[in-house]
Symmetry: C2
Subunit: 409 residues, 2 copies
């Protein structure tokens, strides 16, 4: 999850979902949130774009997830409409009708088909959408569409986020500049397999649908599916990637055989990883961002199991909050993970300093390890010495503030 | 987990591990804990007792777990020696030698074989045992053994517990009074499959080993393995049941065919459930005890998966702390549990008041549900309407105080 930019990838200043050509966006205050903050975002492509979307694997799926999944399956996409302040989840047949109407209202404003519009909602579960407010909001957002509206759209998706999350990069493909950029929201319910997290990424690359979908699956696994704040996955999580080809009108669509395909993939991964990291850094009430690197597991699956057990243990996360290394709690979590472990083989390092050797404390002074755990961000490397399985996972501490924030709505 | 006493089961006042005949116990301050509190417990049976023990399934197992498992496998048992203040876990070969020596020192004091002594440790992981202090402590405890020492022994096992946990009941079998009683410690790392939890139960019933072990397995599953405070399971968890036959010297050993066998099983279950409930009620920093009853799951396994997902979700637990029903978070947790769920079939009740019908909010006012969630203890019943699988699980809220308590040691 450490993000090192590739020399052929240029990071754009203030980049977002509208950095790529041919995309516009808006974010407005429709009146869904009691706080009167921005709560309605609209992102459009001037031409129909190829789409790849990844949705929550939660069995309880919000109405907008059901509608967007259907719309994204076959056709191209012109727009994404998203509201915060209400999740439109556990709302039954009425919720499904409301989600569909959101795509219809947006389609009418934009002069496209409802099937070309995807819809997302985030907020509290179980409350019907205030449709008169929603309808007005979509119209207002459509009127406010702007080729530099990406950051404002990011603001309109925020729930308990404390800052808007946006990022973009540029690469050169076949002699033309191609841009990839995105916006995201996170904060609570962040965990692998999609949390209460929305991320929209756009690119003006030309790429065929199958290739785009394969790229997105691969990058999502290494970004949004490798982070955790609180171990909960939500009913509404969605990653949508749109590719409208606006920068490559005279070029062949990208395929895996293209010489510069690895660069495109790397750029997409960089955008997604950066947005993921922003989500973790803005985790509710957190004071630490901790990267867990598991090496030497019997299999990659075991490495993931081990990393997740450590990265979501409330006891481990509490000890980080107290800046207490307490590696015994890590050993304990490794032991109850379903990964194969041989206690006497385990090594644990904090920013490279070895704390555990052969499953027991090393000679490193606790004071030195404590200094590392006192940092805002550090890396814990766990070597199991059982095979070649590796997995990297980004997580946070658990604080009193997290509890306070999540006691109420 | 609701414990209704059977009419033929009498609860003893101030009952404990020494309520049954022929058992003695002691608890003393050896000097392992920095606080100078009691930290060494010894429980003995005047005659060698049948033993059934259940240990943590964590792959990282403390040295005393390894030693006790070996000692409990074949022979009978005369004593259990237990220290708090140090877990003797992740301590390698030296730790194993220390645990063995603890049984040897106790055996010498008691005039029995080291193999007839079980050993338990609880406290921080990864620190070598202070053996001079331990040796002195065991001798001092042996000198202090008392037929009414059970409660003091319970005090000596406490770590972050705020009260000593002890309980005993009496039944009549074949015309003789038979007693079952126990002590336990809990507080943190409480979760199914044994947490940082020790429980010792004694009975003066005469029962053969195979029958005792089957009874204990069944009762542990319905008591200590159905509770959670923080979702972590530890390296040291142990339940030990000793049956010395002292009350039934002229009777046949109990078997499943005995007419009153169900009464004995019920009494054992009642003791274990009561001790389990005490552990949850004393969970670190908690303000609520919540019983999750899942009904109508496709299988019992599914019911357990669903109950555990809800009962360990940090978001769900935080909302209880804030006295916010927020059943949407329960739906979300059900959705990501691996149990089969059909969203539109789910019903959720708070103390019998229906909050969710067909996966959506019911007509019950949120104020009424909120009043129930404000109680110190309440029952959430979740009906999945997919089969006959049932599971009951006892859990707690997650509070700022829990985090504060677990930031340090």
């Amino acid at each position: 999850m450490s993000i090192s930019s590739h020399p052929q990838i240029t990071v754009l200043k203030n980049g977002s979902v509208t950095s790529a050509r041919g995309f516009r966006a808006a974010g407005i205050a429709a009146g869904i949130k009691k706080t009167k903050g921005k709560d309605m975002a609209l992102i459009t492509s001037d031409v129909a774009a190829e789409v790849a979307a990844v949705f929550t694997v939660n069995q309880v799926q919000a109405a907008p997830v059901k509608v967007s999944r259907e719309h994204a399956r076959t056709g191209k996409v012109r727009a994404v409409v998203a509201n915060s302040g209400n999740a439109n989840a556990c709302t039954g047949v009425a919720g499904l009708r409301d989600a569909k109407e959101m795509t219809e209202v947006a389609a009418k404003e934009l002069g496209c088909k409802a099937k070309e519009v995807l819809v997302c909602s985030t907020g509290r579960i179980g409350i019907p959408l205030p449709m008169p407010v929603i309808r007005r909001g979509i119209k207002e957002a459509a009127a406010a569409l702007d080729p530099s509206g990406g950051v404002v759209a990011a603001e309109a998706m925020m729930t308990s986020d404390t800052f808007a999350k946006h990022y973009a990069v540029r690469i050169e493909l076949d002699g033309v500049p191609v841009t990839l950029g995105g916006i995201a929201k996170g904060a609570g319910m962040i965990h692998p397999d999609m949390a209460t997290m929305l991320a929209f990424v756009t690119t003006d690359a030309r790429i065929d649908r199958a290739t785009l979908r394969a790229c997105v699956d691969e990058c999502v696994e290494q970004s949004f599916n490798s982070i955790s704040v609180d171990g909960d996955t939500s009913t509404n999580d969605t990653v949508i990637v749109l590719a409208n080809g606006a920068a490559m009108t005279n070029n062949q669509p990208l395929t895996r055989k293209h010489a510069q395909f690895p660069l495109f993939l790397q750029a997409l991964r960089q955008v997604m990883r950066h947005l993921s990291r922003l989500i973790v850094e803005d985790g509710e009430g957190i004071t630490k961002v901790v990267e867990i690197v598991v090496k030497g597991a019997a299999t990659r699956k075991d490495a993931k199991l081990a990393a997740l057990a450590v990265g979501k243990s409330t006891l481990v996360k509490c000890s980080w909050c107290g800046e207490d290394p307490n590696w015994g709690r890590l050993m304990d979590a490794l032991g109850y993970s379903k990964a194969k472990i041989r206690e006497e083989m385990v090594e644990i390092f904090y920013n490279g300093l070895q704390a555990v050797v052969n499953g027991q404390r090393s000679k490193a002074s606790e004071a030195r390890i404590r200094k590392i755990v006192a940092k805002r961000s550090f890396i814990i490397t766990i070597h199991l010495h059982l095979g070649a399985g590796e997995y990297t996972f980004l997580t946070t501490d658990l604080t009193e503030q997290y509890v306070t924030l999540n006691k109420g709505e």
